[in-house]
């Protein structure tokens, strides 16, 4: 019966969502959000410090309480006008910014602290998988002060996962680490991203982290959500401060289409085209996320016949926006339907010289492609 099935599907969609509505009014800080977030994947709460992203996370965890808030997670009410579940009754996991392991317990007992208090905690086999995934098996008998910052944070992540939360909240888990430790822990987070089935809210001010980890982005500024959407869409919106930044980039989900062993190259395909990259040791069909900085894309009106640039993509100009320093930010569509967005940042001088206009076909020359996972 198709109607019955449809009803089931729409009910499933409604319960597979996080709805958060909060308003905070302090003299020096205000927050006003009403968000519908996907009930799966990694959603980044992204913005500068002071934009309210940590406050929002704490409100969702119940570590802060404001009246008239509303929060439901995958169909369950955590807060409304009658209900306020205290933090310890919310099925969540929380990873704090700085190392938050209990100093009086070793790593194993830290892991077990939450498990002992949770009816549906992980079974030993699943726990072993998490321990392996985060690479902490050899650290379990150590006390927190015997661990490095990165190791502590990995144990803290495992501890949050061990209670099998319905929602994982991460408050800049890498911010307190130096660059080396950050790059030591990022691969673990990327593996988590692929392995986890629960929604993750990830607070960050680093575009690089967000580009690597997030599926959905909430761009926060001064306590408001400026934009909410799939990461590729939000990153390439020229009206947002994100795209106007020096580090602005477009993100492209690609699948590995083939390898060229003679030239040590790999071809990846995306909606609307393909790119050549240096040889990747990944099987055909694997997905990778490519990041192309706006400053690495130049434009030509005719296809450059002789160029050292490997990736030259036919594209159409979707949007032109003048930004500071006499520069122009251009959003391009590569391919027709479906199209993929690309950003290019060029000087106003070049823009005028070439007479660039919306709708015009151009050739985008991509100097560098960074791979995110």
């Amino acid at each position: 019966m198709p109607t019955n099935q449809q009803a089931q599907v729409s009910a499933a969609i409604e319960t597979d969502q996080i709805h958060a509505r909060f308003r905070v009014d302090y003299p020096d800080f205000s927050l006003d959000v009403d968000l519908d977030l996907p009930g799966q994947g990694v959603t980044a709460l992204f913005g500068h410090s002071g934009s309210g992203k940590t406050t929002l996370l704490r409100l969702i965890a119940g570590l802060m309480r404001v009246p008239n808030g509303h929060l439901s997670v995958n169909g369950r009410i955590w807060q409304d006008s009658e209900t306020f579940l205290p933090t310890h009754q919310r099925p969540l996991g929380y990873v704090f910014q700085e190392a938050s392991l209990f100093p009086h317990l070793n790593a194993r007992r830290n892991l077990e602290y939450g498990m002992k208090r949770t009816a549906n905690a992980m079974d030993p086999a699943a726990l072993r998988d998490v321990i392996d995934l985060l690479g902490i098996a050899h650290l379990l008998d150590r006390r927190p002060h015997q661990l490095s910052g990165g190791e502590r944070q990995r144990v803290a992540i495992a501890r949050a996962l061990a209670v099998q939360p319905a929602l994982l909240l991460m408050d800049e888990p890498l911010a307190a680490l130096d660059l080396k430790r950050k790059y030591e822990i990022l691969p673990y987070l990327e593996r988590l991203h692929d392995a986890l089935e629960i929604p993750v809210l990830y607070v960050s001010h680093s575009p690089d982290e967000v580009a690597r980890l997030a599926d959905t982005v909430v761009l926060m500024e001064q306590g408001r959500a400026l934009a909410v959407g799939p990461i590729a869409e939000v990153f390439s919106r020229t009206d947002l401060p994100l795209a106007q930044d020096q580090d602005a980039s477009a993100l492209i989900e690609c699948t590995i289409a083939g390898h060229d062993d003679r030239d040590a190259l790999t071809r990846v395909a995306f909606a609307g085209g393909c790119l050549w990259l240096g040889r990747l040791e990944r099987p055909v069909g694997a997905t990778v996320r490519a990041r192309i900085h706006a400053r690495d894309v130049s434009l030509a009106l005719v296809e450059p016949a002789s160029s050292t640039i490997l990736n030259i993509l036919p594209a159409r100009i979707q949007e032109l926006r003048e930004i500071e320093q006499a520069q122009v930010l251009i959003r391009l569509a590569v391919g027709d339907d479906p199209a993929t967005s690309l950003l290019a940042r060029i000087t106003r001088h070049s823009c005028v010289r070439l007479g660039l206009q919306v709708g015009q076909p151009v050739f985008a020359q991509v100097k560098t492609v960074a791979l995110m996972d």
């Binding site: 965890a61 119940g62 570590l63 205290p86 933090t87 310890h88 009754q89 969540l92 996991g93 929380y94 704090f96 938050s100 209990f102 100093p103 009086h104 602290y113 939450g114 208090r117 949770t118 501890r159 949050a160 209670v163």
Partner: protein, 225 residues
Amino acid sequence: MGFSDADLQAIWLTLRLASLVTLLLLLIGTPIAWWLARTRSRWKGPVGAVVALPLVLPPTVLGFYLLVAMGPNGPVGQFTQWLGIGLLPFTFWGLVVASVFYSMPFVVQPIQNAIEALGERPLEVAATLRAGPWDRFFTVVLPLARPGFLTAAILGFAHTVGEFGVVLMIGGNIPGATRVVSVQIFDYVEAMEYGEAHWLAASMVIFSFLVLLALYTLNPNQRKF
């Protein structure tokens, strides 16, 4: 020479008093310290000051007001009479009540400092790991603030053992009921029995030294009084 029966009685009474007072102080002082450490109420200052008053008041002043309050016309006295347990002054329980007030800051302040040093974070972490309020107190606060509780217990005990002025005001000098070691020494000195006074006084010096030694050895990094 050695301790007389009266000395032993005074020592036993003193230990009983100090143990009971320490226990009561940990029970009463912990919630007060908890509240003082975490509240943002405007009453924090006044309550903290009242708790600390015995640190600066002459024991006779504290003893005088306690005596008045617990006397036949005082509010505490009327209450105890209404309860049918009579009046507290010049009884062991009167000393217990007075000592609880007198030693309160020595218990509250170390616990308050320890809880303040602990901060909010470990409690938040425990809450995100499903620990309820009491659970958080016993599995996070108590083990992490243990040095503070230990300091509080030792100081509360030692300070009760050493009190004199309040005891004289409230308890007088009744053998077996209110004649504690410090009062016994006072009696010996009044009677010019210096030999007997030496025995007890020297014991107190050694006892106090050992208590402080224990405190400094067990808690090498903790703030002291």
